[in-house]
C-alpha cells in the first residue's frame, strides 16, 4: 500500500507542473500586453514600471515561471489588483465556505446516490427502478444553475423555508448543498447501478448463490462492495465536478467562496485572483483523483499488488 501511495504521489508531479504552467501562462496568453491588461486606463507610468518589475516580465518565461512557482510554494500568490489585498488572504477567507459546500455536497451525493443505485439494482426492473432511473436521466439534463434558481424560487421565495442567499446561518447551506449534490446523486446512482449489474453477472457471485447466501447478503456484502470500487474512483474524479458545480452554485446563491471570487475576478479581469483561484481549484481536482485512487487501492488488493 505504501509503495502504491508513493508511486501515485509521484505521478501527480507532472500533472501539477502542467496545470500550474497553464495557470501561470494565462497572463502571458492574454492578447495584448499583460501589464496593459492588468492596469486600469489612465494608470501612471510608475505603476506600470512597478508591475513590470514585480512580475519580472523582462526575464525569460521559464525563469518567470520558476520564480512564480517558488513564490507560490512560499504562500505568495501576489496582490489583487482591484481589491489591493494579498490573494492568499482572499482565498483563505473564502476557502472554508467552499470546503463546507463542496464537502457536504459530496457526502450527500455519495450517500444518497449509492443508496438509490443499490436499491434500484436490488429491485431491478420494478416500478421503483424504472421511475428512479427516469428521473435521474432527466435530472442529468437540467443545468445546475437553473436547478438552483428553481430551488430558490420554490423553497426560499414561495415557501420561505430557507434563506434566499448568503452564508450567515447554517440553514443557508441547505439549498446550495442540495443543488450541487443532486447532480452528483444522479451520476453516482447511475454508476452504482451499472457497476452492481456488471458485478452480479460474474462467476463468483454465482458461487455465492451456490454457497447458500441469501440475495440480500450477496448484494449488500459482496456485489455492492465491488460496485463501490468504480464509484469511489468516480467520486474522486468528480471532486472536480463538485468544484465546478460549487463555482456555479456559489454565484447563484450569492455565497462567498472560491467560485464567487473567481467569477467576479473574471468579470473584472483581476488576474492574480484568477490565477490563485484556478490554482486552488486545480489542486482540489488533483487531490480528488488521488484520494479516489488511494481509496480504491485500500479496497482492492489487486491494485495494491499492481495487477491493475
Amino acid at each position: 500500500m505504501f509503495g502504491y501511495f508513493i508511486r501515485r504521489l509521484l505521478l501527480l508531479i507532472p500533472v501539477f507542473l502542467v496545470m500550474s504552467a497553464v495557470v501561470f501562462a494565462i497572463v502571458h496568453l492574454v492578447p495584448g500586453d499583460p501589464i496593459d491588461n492588468m492596469l486600469q486606463i489612465g494608470s501612471s507610468p510608475e505603476r506600470r514600471a512597478e508591475l513590470t518589475a514585480k512580475f519580472g516580465l523582462d526575464r525569460p518565461l521559464v525563469v518567470q515561471y520558476g520564480v512564480w512557482l517558488d513564490r507560490v510554494f512560499h504562500g505568495d500568490l501576489g496582490d489583487a489588483i482591484i481589491l489591493k489585498q494579498p490573494v492568499v488572504s482572499l482565498i483563505l477567507a473564502n476557502l472554508p465556505h467552499s470546503l463546507a459546500l463542496g464537502g457536504l455536497a459530496l457526502a450527500f451525493s455519495a450517500s444518497v446516490g449509492i443508496a438509490i443505485g443499490a436499491l434500484a439494482t436490488f429491485f431491478r426492473d420494478s416500478w421503483f427502478d424504472r421511475s428512479v432511473m427516469t428521473i435521474i436521466l432527466m435530472g442529468a439534463t437540467v443545468p445546475n444553475f437553473w436547478l438552483g434558481l428553481l430551488m430558490i424560487l420554490v423553497f426560499a421565495v414561495e415557501l420561505g423555508w430557507f434563506p434566499v442567499s448568503g452564508a450567515r446561518s447554517a440553514d443557508a447551506l441547505v439549498l446550495p448543498v442540495l443543488t450541487v449534490g443532486l447532480g452528483g446523486v444522479a451520476l453516482i446512482a447511475r454508476v452504482t447501478r451499472a457497476a452492481m449489474l456488471e458485478t452480479a453477472r460474474q462467476d463468483f457471485v454465482f458461487m455465492l448463490h451456490a454457497k447458500g447466501l441469501s440475495k440480500r447478503q450477496i448484494y449488500l456484502g459482496h456485489v455492492l462492495r465491488h460496485a463501490l470500487l468504480p464509484v469511489v474512483t468516480i467520486l474522486g474524479l468528480k471532486i472536480g465536478w463538485v468544484v465546478g458545480g460549487a463555482v456555479t452554485i456559489e454565484y447563484v446563491f450569492a455565497r462567498p467562496g472560491l467560485g464567487s471570487l473567481l467569477i467576479s475576478a473574471l468579470n473584472q479581469r483581476d488576474y492574480p485572483i484568477i490565477q490563485g483561484c484556478l490554482l486552488m481549484l486545480g489542486i482540489a481536482v488533483m487531490l480528488g483523483t488521488l484520494v479516489g485512487d488511494l481509496a480504491q487501492a485500500a479496497m482492492d488488493p489487486r491494485i495494491r499488488d499492481g495487477m491493475r
Binding site: 447458500g212 482492492d300 489487486r302
Partner: protein
C-alpha cells in the same frame, strides 16, 4: 433408496427446451461421472440440482429430482437456500473466477462455516484452518490471509473445495473441477475429491468431458448427448462394453499407451445447438451406424447386460464388439 434420484428431468431456458428426460441416481460413498461434450447439458444439470435455474431464466418443465427424500422440484426458495452449501455443495469450473477477488480466501471459507454451522468468527477460522490442513494445503495460516490473485490455480481450487466442505455436505457437485488447471494439478485435485468420498462417505457428482477422468475416478457414469441421456451404467461395464456408438466414440478419444501415432480419432461434426436439434435420435447425424429409424424415432432406454446399463439407442452395439 438413493441419496439423489433424477427422474425424467426436463429443463427449459425461456422457451427453449434444453434437457429432455434425463435420469440418473447417486448414492453415498459413490462417484457418478456425468459426461458429454460442451453443449450437452452437463452444467445446466448442475445448476438445476443447485436450484439456481431462476438466475439464468430457466425452469423445470417435467420430471422429478429427489434428494434424501426431499422433492427438490417443488422446494420453496428459503428451504432450498438451507440445502445449498450445507447439504449440497458446488465446486465450479473455474477457480480463477469463482472466488471473490477482494476478500481473503480465508474469509471466504470462514463465511461458509459461519453460515452453515453457525460458528463464531474464531471458531470458523479454526475450522477453516483444519479443513485446509485436511486438504494438505501447506502453510495454511499464511494462505488463509491471502487474496485469490496471490494463489495458483490449483491452490485456489483447493480453497474452493475447502469452502464446499465447510458446510459438511452430503453431496458435492463438481462441475469440470480440473478443466482450467494444469495437467499435473488435475490428478491431484481428482485424488483429493476421491479421498473425500472414501473418507467422509459423501456422494460426488463429477461433471466432466474427459473419459480419462471418469475411468480414473468414477464408480458409475452417465453419458449425455445434446440434452438427452445416451448411456448409464457401471464404469467397468461401460468401458469394457460400450453399447451406445457415442459412448464408444468418446472412449476412443482417450489416448492409450502404446497407441500408434495418428490412430487417435475424434468424433466428426459438432454437438447441435438447442435451436437445431435433429429429429429422432439426436446423435444420428454423427453416428456411423445410423439406420432409417434413427432419423425419425426417439430411442427409448433399454437395460442391457448383467451390469444393468441403460442404453438409449435403436441399434445398441453387440457385446464383444470392441
Amino acid at each position: 433408496m438413493s441419496l439423489l434420484a433424477v427422474d425424467d428431468l426436463s429443463v427449459s431456458i425461456g422457451m427453449v427446451p434444453l434437457l429432455d428426460r434425463v435420469s440418473f441416481s447417486l448414492d453415498r460413498g459413490e462417484v457418478l461421472g456425468l459426461v458429454g461434450e460442451s453443449g450437452s447439458g452437463k452444467s445446466l444439470t448442475a445448476m438445476t440440482l443447485m436450484g439456481l435455474l431462476p438466475l439464468i431464466g430457466g425452469r423445470i418443465t417435467a420430471g422429478r429430482v429427489r434428494f434424501d427424500g426431499i422433492d427438490l422440484t417443488t422446494l420453496p426458495e428459503p428451504a432450498y437456500r438451507d440445502l445449498r452449501g450445507q447439504r449440497i455443495a458446488l465446486i465450479s469450473q473455474n477457480p480463477m473466477t469463482s472466488l471473490d477477488p477482494i476478500l481473503t480466501v480465508g474469509a471466504q471459507i470462514d463465511q461458509a462455516s459461519r453460515l452453515h454451522a453457525g460458528l463464531s468468527a474464531a471458531a470458523a477460522r479454526a475450522r477453516s484452518l483444519d479443513l485446509m490442513h485436511q486438504l494438505r494445503i501447506p502453510e495454511a495460516v499464511a494462505i488463509h490471509g491471502q487474496y485469490p490473485h496471490q494463489l495458483s490455480g490449483g491452490m485456489k481450487q483447493r480453497i474452493v473445495i475447502a469452502m464446499a466442505l465447510a458446510g459438511d455436505p452430503d453431496l458435492i457437485i463438481a462441475d469440470e473441477p480440473t478443466t482450467a488447471l494444469d495437467v499435473t494439478i488435475q490428478a491431484q485435485i481428482i485424488q483429493i475429491l476421491c479421498d473425500l468420498v472414501a473418507e467422509r462417505g459423501l456422494a460426488l457428482l463429477l461433471i466432466t468431458h474427459d473419459m480419462g477422468v471418469v475411468a480414473q475416478a468414477c464408480h458409475r457414469v452417465s453419458v449425455l448427448y445434446a440434452g438427452r441421456g445416451a448411456e448409464t451404467g457401471p464404469v467397468h461395464d461401460i468401458f469394457a462394453r460400450p453399447r451406445h456408438p457415442y459412448t464408444k466414440a468418446l472412449i476412443g478419444c482417450i489416448p492409450r499407451e502404446g497407441q500408434a501415432p495418428g490412430t487417435l480419432v475424434g468424433i466428426p461434426g459438432m454437438v447441435p445447438t438447442a435451436f437445431a436439434y435433429p429429429k429422432g435420435c439426436r446423435y444420428h447425424p454423427r453416428c456411423t451406424a445410423a439406420a432409417p429409424d434413427c432419423r425419425t424415432e426417439v430411442p427409448a432406454g433399454s437395460i442391457q447386460g448383467v451390469g444393468g446399463s441403460i442404453v438409449f439407442c435403436h441399434h445398441p452395439l453387440e457385446v464383444g464388439h470392441v
